[in-house]
Point group: D2
Amino acid sequence: MTVHIGVIGTGMIGQDHIRRLTDVVTGAEVVAVTDVDGARAAEVASGIGARALPTGQDVIADPLVDAVVVTSWGPTHAEYVLAAIEAGKYVFCEKPLATTAEDCLRIIEAEQTFGRRLVQVGFMRRYDAGYRAMKQLLDGGQLGHPLMMHCAHRNPTVPEAYHSAMAVQDTAVHEIDTIRWLLEEEIVSAQVIQPRRTANRFEHLADPQFMLFETESGVRVDLEVFVNCQFGYDIQCETVCEAGTVRLPDPADVIVKTGAVQRTGVLQDWKDRFGAAFDREFVEWIASIDDGRLAGPSAWDGYAAAVITDAGTEALHTQRVVSVRLKDRPDLYGS
Amino acid sequence: MTVHIGVIGTGMIGQDHIRRLTDVVTGAEVVAVTDVDGARAAEVASGIGARALPTGQDVIADPLVDAVVVTSWGPTHAEYVLAAIEAGKYVFCEKPLATTAEDCLRIIEAEQTFGRRLVQVGFMRRYDAGYRAMKQLLDGGQLGHPLMMHCAHRNPTVPEAYHSAMAVQDTAVHEIDTIRWLLEEEIVSAQVIQPRRTANRFEHLADPQFMLFETESGVRVDLEVFVNCQFGYDIQCETVCEAGTVRLPDPADVIVKTGAVQRTGVLQDWKDRFGAAFDREFVEWIASIDDGRLAGPSAWDGYAAAVITDAGTEALHTQRVVSVRLKDRPDLYGS
Amino acid sequence: MTVHIGVIGTGMIGQDHIRRLTDVVTGAEVVAVTDVDGARAAEVASGIGARALPTGQDVIADPLVDAVVVTSWGPTHAEYVLAAIEAGKYVFCEKPLATTAEDCLRIIEAEQTFGRRLVQVGFMRRYDAGYRAMKQLLDGGQLGHPLMMHCAHRNPTVPEAYHSAMAVQDTAVHEIDTIRWLLEEEIVSAQVIQPRRTANRFEHLADPQFMLFETESGVRVDLEVFVNCQFGYDIQCETVCEAGTVRLPDPADVIVKTGAVQRTGVLQDWKDRFGAAFDREFVEWIASIDDGRLAGPSAWDGYAAAVITDAGTEALHTQRVVSVRLKDRPDLYGS
Amino acid sequence: MTVHIGVIGTGMIGQDHIRRLTDVVTGAEVVAVTDVDGARAAEVASGIGARALPTGQDVIADPLVDAVVVTSWGPTHAEYVLAAIEAGKYVFCEKPLATTAEDCLRIIEAEQTFGRRLVQVGFMRRYDAGYRAMKQLLDGGQLGHPLMMHCAHRNPTVPEAYHSAMAVQDTAVHEIDTIRWLLEEEIVSAQVIQPRRTANRFEHLADPQFMLFETESGVRVDLEVFVNCQFGYDIQCETVCEAGTVRLPDPADVIVKTGAVQRTGVLQDWKDRFGAAFDREFVEWIASIDDGRLAGPSAWDGYAAAVITDAGTEALHTQRVVSVRLKDRPDLYGS
């Protein structure tokens, strides 16, 4: 059975997801697209034999569309997600779910009113093989309770438009979701420390930044965000437990010995690092729609990420420890 | 554009490829299947909405079938491949292309008569990311000319039906193709040495076996085949060149420190080790059919593998160095 | 030329150093020892053909003694070091140089009065091959300026007498010296965070603890101290610079594949981890005495460690960021 | 108690051992040296306060000399070793023990006549931490019986004087001893295969060469000897057993990420790779003299190495499998 998809937003990530839904994921077909740039939408649509519609609301309303993918500009996400819920359609929304915690709450309320989950948020790391092996091991309990996590999120460079708070909102947000998912508990505080700045950055940017999070049970997480590290796209995560540690592997690459060194390559792009995770994310999303039981990151996860990144942003500006205050979690999102 | 596939042989590997063509590869649809066990064929067909046909010839003849996948019992391969060529249809044949070099030659002749490539043989290692990175590096020339290759092919255990010559015909055949592909030259001799046998095997089996190959330019390849190594499915390959070496990585896994050791898991199954390569093999096969230009392992590669495994089998029985004598390569298969 | 050594304190570490000076280091001979336990001193002395003297002051005054090793109880260190300076003899003092910063200052003043360096403090990590390779690379400048360091100091278990502040004073003190030496700048603040406690500890102990240090130029250092980690003695250090990172290797061990895992051993004991560094420390100390130019960790380094561990201890008790206030560095100790 | 040493041959390796016996090993003192180049001997002697004597026989006869180290030109070894045995003095002889198997047998007979071991041969790999850990594991039996070994011995380059047979006699001889020691059985045949030659060599030299050995119980060992590999001094050894494999680690080095690669250094010199093993070799030799019980590589091991390298040399010239024929092992050398 084929799930017919409408895509709102045909920029880089939208096109990448369209390619994925067309060429990688079986059981899905993109039938309608839209974009603020109508010409771009038309071009993308013609490439896959889909229709280009004038607006996101048209895509959602289209009776041929079973499920919606929202990859438009962040500030528009909430509106489209709410409309999809109202239409009773599944909706996959790239992060952020909404640009404010209040809008996330409105989505949660709408979904509760509808009565079952329709929304999935694009936190793709939950689909990475390494993180999954780590979660399986943590869940198995052989290592005892987690006590600390040491993480690093490094990009080779960022464009000039990247500003310091984006290190929390756009970069660390991935670790924020991963921490919550791996540990199965909420984050209760955030802190941002600014080390000596690298010379390899635009003047306005604090880079690297070093973040600290605490969870309900007292697990402490440290996260280096270094977005001009020069050498590659490098994701590190080690969870230290009572009886041992578990660490993500570096991506496998051939091992070369030449010129007095042994070396392996370091990836340069997040699309290479998490390409398989993105694929799996959509494969499982489509399968869960077939099943009628969404299992991926929920609107609650999107809400929690919003509250925590807000706290992180405040922590960045105040250089203080900032508490995270979440509402009670509705039953729809588990206990 | 969807390529409609007929599958001959719905055993384990046939079913796995059907699942792949259905769930993983976009742009393909399995529309007809057959099997010597008609009930099994019917069951598989019904699971995917395809038709079960009485015979392989029926599948090939079916006007709805654009391309054929042959995953039946080895001795039947040649017949089906020849019939597909006669019908002018693309055919993907699992190894072996045929059980004798003579039958492989007949296929080559038929394909030449047809005038362009229709046949692809299932040597999936050419689609493995590690081997591909190795080939790219060798092709780049920075390491100079290859001089030696050290390989190992280890299985945790094999069933009682596995006999000593299968170490050449079923196991080493993968390295034989890989060597030819990586080095872009032919193998000219084979030798099989039998070390002390492991106690962990059925009485009739020589295990491990240690094979030596020589190529046209004098590259020497050694290959450990150890099919009851107990600890896992483990593939090693290092190419030693004039200016350095390049080695396959072990598959990435989380790194755990506990109980006085640091450890990573070792895979147990070839389907886990080469799952992504199988996927890519079919994705690229379907894409090359769309393009009308097959690029994967050819009938010539199937023929060469047959001649070399024959030489290897003779080497195993005689414990001597056996020369490999190939016909001249027809222009259809490059220079 | 043989340097004749007197050893004050023949407990475990004293005996270990005596063995080292006798069996490993050439050009040195232990000629006199003492201990609060006279019988133990006598036994140790007879084992190496040295004399047991009644007191540390006797050892220092002994005209046959060229240089003194102080491995007695920490609170007695300052007295012996000051006496050695007064006697104009070289003195190697295990950490701490003194139990208070004030006593360290008295030593510094005495050494300045004497006019050249006589004191070396036992920070042996400066002699570890891995740390030295890291320092060489950092000094070379190819990686740009250091920005962050991520460290971990893990012991399998500690005895009941170990209390929370020892994590700073006895454990982290090694990293404190290493940071100063690697970065060649002073630490300006310390903070201690207490994560969820492991169940595998005595009730009174906060374990693990997570420490943060800042240096003059703004480098931020994080240090996990986890003294009941169960799995081994594990030292990690990664320095993140503007153009790359450098990380200590794990100690080399044979790589074993068996039982579905690949594994290497993890050391259990600091004496195994730093045995070669201890050897080298004494080889170089003796050589520098021969040269008349001490080059190892100085009284200033001992003083700085005292001030920083005081700040760390206050940070631990107050859970606040505590500033480190050092006196100006005298010329005797470089700029 | 100090062992007084006389050194015959003060070339590079002789000087290195003198430095070691002087600066690294306690309990030993070099008191007399000689060399065919009397001026060199005199200079070396004056540097350590020893006497330079006219001939090797003078050194052996010197009543102040307790034990002799033979590091002269290979063809002179047998004469000095025999003289030392006659004088009843311990003698450490660098490889080869003698340049012919016959001379090795004369030494064995002389030692038997004397009635206990006096001779140790300089196979230093038995003192390398990695090989020792491997041996301990093999001896423990958890991995079952060894079945195969895969080895590589790579040098960055060799001088023009190096000729093809030296790959057996000077290079592979180290693996030959290591194999016998690790497996505790004799080698029964040798074969040498010559792959395509690297362009990076002098015209007269076959490089690389690929050697095969078989042991009494049927273990098969393959050894790549590649003495112009360009990239470094690289020693590999993996032993494949019935229940798993064990492999030497690469030497530990800091791990650097920069410029899109992760890299560690590769050593360039055997003195760096086996420096610690050489040190330990002499420490244990001196200790065993103190004990009166030599435990290191014996004259029998030197004899076996001579017979096997003879077979290997014949194999190199004939390109055939050559059998190794050893005399019965005298009781003096264990069973």
